[in-house]
Amino acid sequence: MELPQVGPHEVGPHAGLTRCIHLQSKAMAVYGEGFTADPDFQNDLTDFTCLKTGRPLGPDNGPANLTQCCNAERDCYEEY
């Protein structure tokens, strides 16, 4: 499916926040910063993965998702 390209974090509650460089999802892998146009993302259905652990948990054992991985206070956070 052809997705419209939008800039980084232009939609949703995370707009303007910088995420951790290790956060990944399928839509990010395919569409890059256009991932916010992915219908799954827009419906809060994205399965995120931490690239460091390969799991839905970060190295600190906390959840890997866009809300939690924009939190620069997490020990494992590395700016994108």
Binding site: D44, L45, T46, D47, T49, K52, T53, G54, R55, P56, L57, P59, N61, G62, P63, A64, N65, T67, Q68
Partner: protein, 341 residues
């Protein structure tokens, strides 16, 4: 799906009254992620379905996380995503990391604590409408001689070799949780390990609640002396990292006293290896009073698999369980995690 009567009481007492009158012919509906599947597949055919939706909002006892660590109460209606992301539960990564790994976002946004603890098992013979296994009035457990790669490895004395499906149960067990259970006329508190049983026939569930009882909340209250530090973690070995149950799981909790490195009050629980989540006193004993390192963690892991009797296709789970126990212990200790080389 068989026809049923739908109830949506607006109070806790309303739920308990319907359950009491239904005399075992009702199912509680929380997020519905397990129950609706079963109803569609004709595995469960309740005459009455009692929804918790109507009262989950205003009734804090079932829908909130409250307290002050180390004592925190989680309502049975709290969503899995809210357990995973709770600030109040941050001292309990054994529990929050387990919640964060359940299924995918859809299930975590709908599924609840009560539903996770009271869900039915995932044995494919049980879940197949056409198979009359022990738990559906049949005479045998087909997994014993059949396809049993995901089944129990602690099988001794178990005519049915399902594994308990809840990944929240082992962390709650190591964190010393108790359950608040209510019926129309009574209320009782039990340690969470007493919530589970190994079912052997039709009509029995994987939990010990009576048909007219509701799990209202679970309270975590790990026993640690003042000034001590609680350490806890869970580790799951999974075939795929999303949308599936783990193959094996281990949870561990212990405390260290100020300035000390020695593990005390050790509790280790094993998941997905027996019809109930299992506390492993043998593994805990090996770690008790020891400094946690690769050597002591491995020794505890060896002890955890003592007594395992795998089936024809699942001996591999014995090795995986050792890995899960060792990694859970090392994670709890704050040792460098395995993915950092």
């Amino acid at each position: 799906m068989k026809n049923f009567t739908y109830y949506q009481p607006t109070s806790l007492s309303g739920v308990l009254k319907v359950l009491d009158e239904a005399a075992g012919k009702a199912e509680i509906l929380a997020g519905g992620t397990d129950l609706l599947d079963r109803m569609k597949e004709y595995i469960s055919q309740p005459e009455k379905v009692v929804s918790l939706v109507g009262f989950s909002g205003p009734f804090k006892e079932i829908s909130s996380i409250a307290g002050h660590p180390p004592t925190v109460t989680i309502g049975a209606g709290v969503k899995l995503v809210n357990i995973a992301e709770s600030e109040l539960l941050r001292p309990y990564p054994a529990l929050t990391s387990a919640a964060a790994q359940i299924a995918g976002p859809q299930i975590r946004n709908m599924g609840t604590l009560g539903g996770s603890l009271c869900q039915r098992n995932r044995c494919w013979y049980f879940r197949d409408e056409h198979v009359q296994c022990l738990l559906k009035g049949g005479r045998r457990c087909f997994a014993h001689d059949g396809e049993n790669q995901y089944h129990a490895i602690f099988t001794q004395g178990h005519p049915c070799v399902i594994v308990h499906p809840s990944t929240l149960a082992p962390p709650l067990m190591v964190l010393g949780a108790t359950c608040d259970i209510r019926s129309h006329k009574a209320q009782r508190q039990i340690p969470i390990e007493q919530l589970f049983q190994a079912p052997v026939k039709d009509g029995q569930r994987e939990h010990t609640l009576a048909p007219n009882e509701l799990l209202v909340s679970v309270t975590i209250a790990p026993k640690i002396p003042p000034g001590a530090t609680l350490r806890n973690a869970s580790y799951e070995v999974k075939q795929k990292e999303t949308s599936d149950w783990p193959i094996v799981q281990a949870s561990v909790a212990y405390y260290t006293e100020a300035g000390g490195q020695v593990a005390k009050g050790v509790r280790i629980a094993l998941g997905h290896v027996a019809p109930t989540p299992l506390l492993s006193p043998a593994a805990a004993k090996v770690l008790e009073g020891q400094e946690v390192n690769e050597k002591t963690a491995s020794a505890a892991a060896e002890a955890a698999v003592e007594g395992a009797r795998p089936l024809s296709q699942n001996a591999y789970k014995v090795q995986q369980l050792k890995v899960a126990v060792r990694r859970a212990i090392l994670l709890a200790s704050g040792a460098k995690p395995y993915w950092e080389g």
